[in-house]
């Protein structure tokens, strides 16, 4: 999200993002003070910013991301109608981010029993329709146990994170990485 929102900031343009948070572990302070600042400082070596300019870039980035906090399946379903409204009124929105697509599976199962893969396919299909209709990119996270029959759903780019080993290292698409306050760092870089 940090890289997307700041992708054109040196030209004074900010990609706008809609972020649907279903896991509620997002930390805005950490995002602003670590991820955004790290990208602002490292993105362009030729530009040296004053603290005021840096703060202004962080502030503008934060204003460019709309957060929809969903605490129930109903709210998540309504979020999609909210999305349509937001997208129609704002041409600058370029990215839709959803954290925890599987989060309301058990709540939905309570009303109508279904496979995890069925639930996953339903929501991914909706996302694909929205992205095609409005020419958006979408990035979502999902717990891998919901992907048993993933062959039925075509995803353009798949990033798979595997479990941490005893040293605290994980793999992202078979590349070993670790995380620190600035985000993801690959060991082979």
């Amino acid at each position: 999200m940090a890289r997307a929102v700041l992708s054109n900031w040196s030209e004074g343009r900010y990609c706008e993002i809609i972020f649907i948070d279903l896991t509620h572990k997002f930390d805005v302070m950490h995002f602003a003070n670590h991820h955004l600042r790290h990208i602002i400082l490292t993105q362009n070596d030729e530009i040296v910013l004053t603290p005021e300019e840096e703060n202004a870039a962080v502030q503008k980035s934060l204003e460019s991301i709309t957060l929809l906090n969903c605490h129930s399946l109903e709210q998540f379903e309504i979020a999609f109608t909210e999305l349509e409204d937001l997208i129609w009124h704002n041409n600058n929105i370029g990215l839709l981010v959803i954290d925890g697509l599987e989060r309301f599976y058990w709540e939905d199962c309570h009303q109508r029993l279904q496979r995890m893969s069925t639930y996953y396919k339903k929501w991914v299909t909706k996302l694909q329709q929205i992205c095609q209709e409005h020419n958006l990119s979408c990035c979502f996270t999902v717990e891998s146990s919901h992907l048993k029959t993933k062959a039925e759903v075509i995803i353009d780019y798949e990033l798979k994170i595997s479990k941490k080993d005893a040293n605290g290292l994980s793999k992202l698409n078979n590349r070993i990485f670790f995380t620190d306050e600035n985000g993801i760092n690959f060991v082979d870089e």
């Binding site: 972020f19 649907i20 896991t23 509620h24 572990k25 930390d27 805005v28 302070m29 950490h30 995002f31 602003a32 502030q59 980035s61 934060l62 204003e63 460019s64 991301i65 709309t66 957060l67 929809l68 906090n69 969903c70 605490h71 129930s72 399946l73 109903e74 709210q75 998540f76 379903e77 309504i78 979020a79 109608t81 909210e82 409204d85 925890g100 989060r103 309301f104 599976y105 058990w106 709540e107 199962c109 309570h110 009303q111 029993l113 496979r115 995890m116 893969s117 717990e143 146990s145 048993k148 479990k163 941490k164 005893a166 040293n167 605290g168 620190d180 306050e181």
Partner: protein
């Protein structure tokens, strides 16, 4: 899903709702997903009125919408960071303090001292902040005598005992639904701006498995998962809305090395229920280890990703225990924002965990 209810000063009167029901539009979601032209025809109103009604319903029933800039400024003004008061633990956590709006978990094997750790954090919190704490006791383990003993050992003046103990609000229940009822009442009281409840910034649930394991019988498995999901959403909802920190006590259980946990779960409501045979995700752990050897947090795969920070309380080696049986280790086994696989020694004493 929320059913359509009359709303004053809107197009949604009882009569309108009965017209909508006849056209199979019963819930808020049905109304919002229905085409405006159809709604105009049913209710005989203008498009602008339909759109206004939809907008109102989205505001009432939909997700909270704000920019990250607004969230940032709310956090600056209302958010809080707390320390546990256990020096070694605070030192390894660094900037990842107990943060209002987040959920922590403390897991460990039975009898290792998890409740003592929770009580220590509670006492440290009450003493340092002079704010009330809600302690939900599902094991009927909470002991005022033990609290008093901990205060006496810390050489706290007797004249403040009553004040400290009054700030620890204990609620007892024996079921998962009971825990949810307590939290739903808590949320209602917060919405009604009950002065006592508004000051509560820390909630402890001791412990989750005590209430949820009752739901692991075959016919209750899915109900247990559903209640767990509801609990998670409810806790995060008011934790973030009212800036409350939540600590949940969980059990560490042995990882299964072979076979499913429940062999007879195939008759739950549907055929080919391979995904439902293991709703707690027990089998998923047969290949995994974490630093506590062959133990994993209970409550299954869904719960794995819920807490923002997961701490494990464990014993030292046999040699260490022979020298000092009060020694324990707290290990950070999962964290969204800090380093993991680090641990610190603590001691279980009359003062609590120090």
């Amino acid at each position: 899903m929320s059913k359509l209810q009359p709303i004053d000063k809107t197009e949604l009167s009882e009569y309108s709702i009965s017209l909508l029901n006849r056209c199979h539009i019963h819930t808020v979601s049905d109304f919002l997903n229905e085409k405006s032209e159809k709604l105009q025809n049913i209710l005989k109103i203008k498009e602008a009125q339909v759109l206004d009604t939809k907008k109102l319903l989205r505001q009432i029933f939909g997700p909270e919408k704000q920019t990250l800039a607004q969230l940032f400024s709310h956090w600056i003004s209302d958010g809080c960071l707390y320390k546990t008061g256990i020096d070694n633990l605070d030192s390894i956590l660094g900037s990842e303090s107990l943060q209002s709006g987040s959920i922590w978990e403390i897991c460990g094997s039975s009898g290792v001292g998890k409740t003592q750790l929770a009580l220590s954090v509670v006492i440290n919190f009450v003493i340092s902040k002079a704010l009330p704490v809600l302690y939900i006791d599902t094991k009927l383990d909470f002991s005022a005598v033990r609290i008093r003993q901990m205060l006496e050992s810390r050489c706290i003046g007797r004249n403040v005992y009553a004040g400290i103990m009054q700030l620890i609000k204990v609620e007892r229940c024996l079921s998962a639904q009971g825990v949810l009822n307590i939290l739903e009442n808590f949320e209602k009281e917060m919405e009604n701006k009950n002065a006592t409840v508004m000051n509560i910034n820390l909630i402890i649930i001791d412990s989750m498995p005590a209430a949820w394991f009752l739901l692991k019988a075959n016919e209750d498995q899915l109900a247990g998962k559903w209640l767990l999901s509801r609990l998670t959403n409810l806790i995060y909802k008011f934790a973030q809305k009212y800036y409350v920190a939540v600590i949940i006590i969980n059990l560490s259980v042995p990882i299964m090395t072979d076979g499913p946990l429940n062999k007879n779960s195939g008759d739950i409501q549907t055929q080919d229920s391979e995904e439902y045979d293991d709703p707690y995700g027990e089998n998923a752990y047969s290949q995994e280890r974490h630093q506590n050897g062959n133990l994993r947090p209970a409550l299954g795969r869904y719960w794995q990703s819920v807490p923002r920070l997961r701490l494990s309380l464990g014993y030292g080696s046999k040699l260490e225990l022979d020298k000092d049986d009060t020694l324990r280790y707290i290990t950070v086994i999962n964290s969204c924002y800090s380093a993991t696989h680090i641990k610190c020694p603590v001691h279980l004493t009359a003062k609590g965990i120090i």
